[in-house]
């Protein structure tokens, strides 16, 4: 119980700190969105147009920073993120609602595939330690983990989409209506390549972590004992070794979410995918504070919650923690 309370407190503290950094960062950025806009229109907007835009965006009235902070906290808690500056006057919440499902689908699919495939391959490699299979898996995993996501995306588009024409070149779908059968097919065909790329680049990490934790677990006495007892290899592997090795992999997974987002930015950017990661890149480069803050917040909360769930999972799976605390 003490452990759970400590975790909840930590969750709240980290959440608050992230919120505050989130608030401070854009305000530390140089320049203003108006200058971004002026630059974007490269002389095609007259100075009076810029002045009119600044007024409409509410960028002229400067509030006290503490008042802003207070308002920001209040708005964040109520989910009111205001208007996007780069897509004015679209509401930030509208943009989130439009873009979030795409990323969830893409990342969800890719991560589940990578997780299942990666842990399986990792476990087998650990079990057949030193075999040819293992000696292929480790360097391959290493290479996958060192794969620049933007590069593999670009190459995939060049060869598979552009040269061979197997996949669409860009975007989330080509049909206006997303609910029809054709729309669904279009969504799937558009998601296939970016999802595969994402899965491939996250596969390596899962493979290696699973392999190493399984190898460690297998040197533990109870696994040695189970093997000595003459239990069938498969039984030992699945019942004892794999189950105990999965725990650290799961917690790792929760923390790795933040890294997955980084990979997703590149993939969505290269594929022009209509997801939240690409939106974040756009928000950052166009200094769209409200949008940037909201997406940051969504990601931070997702990672925090995933960590919290993983911590709670630990409590359920590892009784030692319920008694004491972790060092």
């Amino acid at each position: 119980m003490r452990y759970i309370i400590r975790r909840v407190l930590l969750l709240l503290l980290t959440g608050w700190a992230a919120l505050t950094i989130n608030f401070a960062l854009p305000r530390l950025m140089p320049g203003s969105p108006i200058q971004v806009m002026a630059a974007k229109y490269t002389g095609r907007l007259t100075p009076s147009a810029l002045a009119a835009i600044a007024q409409a965006l509410g960028l002229k009235n400067k509030q006290n920073v503490f008042v802003q902070y207070w308002t920001y906290l209040g708005h964040t808690l109520t989910g009111n993120f205001g208007y996007s500056l780069s897509e004015y006057p679209t509401k930030v919440s509208t943009l989130l609602a439009q873009n979030l499902p795409w990323t969830l689908g893409l990342v969800g699919f890719a991560t589940v595939v990578a997780f299942v495939l990666g842990t399986f391959i990792g476990a087998v490699a650990a079990w057949r330690r030193g075999s040819l299979f293992d000696s292929i898996v480790v360097p391959t995993g290493m290479m996958l983990a060192a794969m620049p996501s933007f590069w593999i995306s670009t190459m995939a588009i060049y060869f598979l989409s552009y040269k061979l024409g197997w996949f669409p070149l860009f975007g989330g779908s080509s049909s206006g209506s997303l609910t029809s059968v054709a729309g669904l097919g279009s969504i799937l065909s558009h998601a296939a390549l970016p999802a595969m790329v994402l899965a491939v680049i996250s596969l390596g990490g899962f493979m290696l972590v699973m392999r190493n934790t399984t190898v460690s677990v297998m040197s533990d006495d109870y696994v040695k004992f189970a093997r000595a007892k003459g239990l069938r290899n498969f039984t030992v592997a699945s019942r004892y070794a794999a189950r105990n090795a999965t725990l650290p992999v799961v917690t790792n997974f929760a923390l790795a979410l933040g890294t997955v987002v980084a990979g997703t930015i590149f993939v969505e950017y290269v594929f022009s995918y209509p997801g939240i990661a690409n939106l974040l890149y756009i928000a950052v480069t166009s200094e769209d504070y409200p949008l940037m803050q909201a997406i940051f917040l969504v990601i931070v909360l997702a990672v925090l919650l995933a960590n919290f769930v993983a911590d709670m999972l630990y409590v359920v799976l590892d009784p030692r923690i319920r008694v004491g605390g972790r060092a």
Partner: protein, 275 residues
């Protein structure tokens, strides 16, 4: 150390790093042209004068490719170095010292772990006025130190409770000397593994930032080569070499550092050691 050299992964990783290290050192001698020379026709195909052809900017591709090893090695080693120092200090102050310091520092790590790194990088970069190597190392450090710091912290905590620390105190050792001669050397294995891990991170992330055009794309590097290939529509010009090769180099260098990371882990953790 001996075990390390007998480790195949370590040898493979070391060979890759040494190879790129040599290319980096000898680049001025190996380069057929100055990579900053824009005076050739753009988008020439491979020929005897330009083995890999020219860029859309009129530079010799091969010269660029070779010279880029410098940037990546420099960024990888200096970032990994700075990150290691930060992590070490963190490990000592948070893990070894403990107490309130530990509480504060641990919270800081947790915050950095959940903040999305890449966007944070872009935002911080936008804030910094000078866009040099130092800036790049700085922002890579800010967003890259937290992972390994946790590992070093728990290593320091476990060291703190080892009896030889008390034996050292009984021998009349001063605190700083214990830290320097007992704590730090015993963290070295983890530190080395983290160092190589940070190098992989630095190589990949710097290339990614260059590809997005966020940091100075006039650097002669693989990431900027990809940036210019993309910006110059190499794909539509049917020039795939300038897209393929820099990526392969990044991949290889990353794999090299990754293998070293893995090997150090294996040597340092007896449970992962073979046989």
């Amino acid at each position: 150390m001996k075990g390390f050299l007998h480790n195949k992964k370590a040898l493979a990783g070391l060979s890759i790093i040494v190879f790129f290290g040599l290319v980096a050192l000898l680049a001025p001698l190996l380069d057929p042209y100055n990579p900053n020379d824009f005076n050739f026709m753009p988008w020439l195909g491979p020929s005897s004068a330009h083995w890999l052809g020219t860029t859309g900017q009129g530079q010799d591709e091969l010269s660029w490719l070779l010279y880029s090893a410098r940037d990546s090695m420099l960024i990888a080693l200096s970032t990994a170095g700075v990150i290691s120092v930060v992590q070490l200090l963190f490990g000592i102050f948070s893990g070894y010292t403990g107490g309130l310091t530990d509480g504060v520092l641990s919270t800081v790590t947790n915050v950095f772990l959940v903040l999305p790194g890449l966007p944070l990088l872009i935002v911080i970069d936008a804030y910094l006025p000078n866009k040099g190597t130092v800036t790049t190392v700085f922002i890579l450090t800010i967003t890259g130190w937290a992972w390994g710091a946790r590992v070093l912290r728990s290593q320091a905590i476990s060291l703190r409770d080892r009896p030889f620390m008390e034996a050292a105190r009984m021998s009349g050792e001063r605190r700083w000397r214990i830290v320097l001669f007992n704590v730090v050397p015993n963290m070295f294995g983890v530190l080395a593994a983290n160092f190589f891990g940070a190098a992989v991170y630095a190589v990949l992330t710097e290339a990614g930032l260059l590809f997005l055009g966020v940091i100075n794309v006039n650097t002669i590097s693989w990431g900027s080569m990809l940036y210019w290939a993309q910006a110059g529509s190499a794909m539509l010009e049917n020039k795939w070499l300038p897209m393929l090769l820099p990526g392969v180099c990044i991949l290889l260098l990353g794999t090299g550092f990754g293998l070293l990371n893995f090997a150090v882990d294996e040597v340092a953790d007896p449970r992962l050691r073979r046989g």
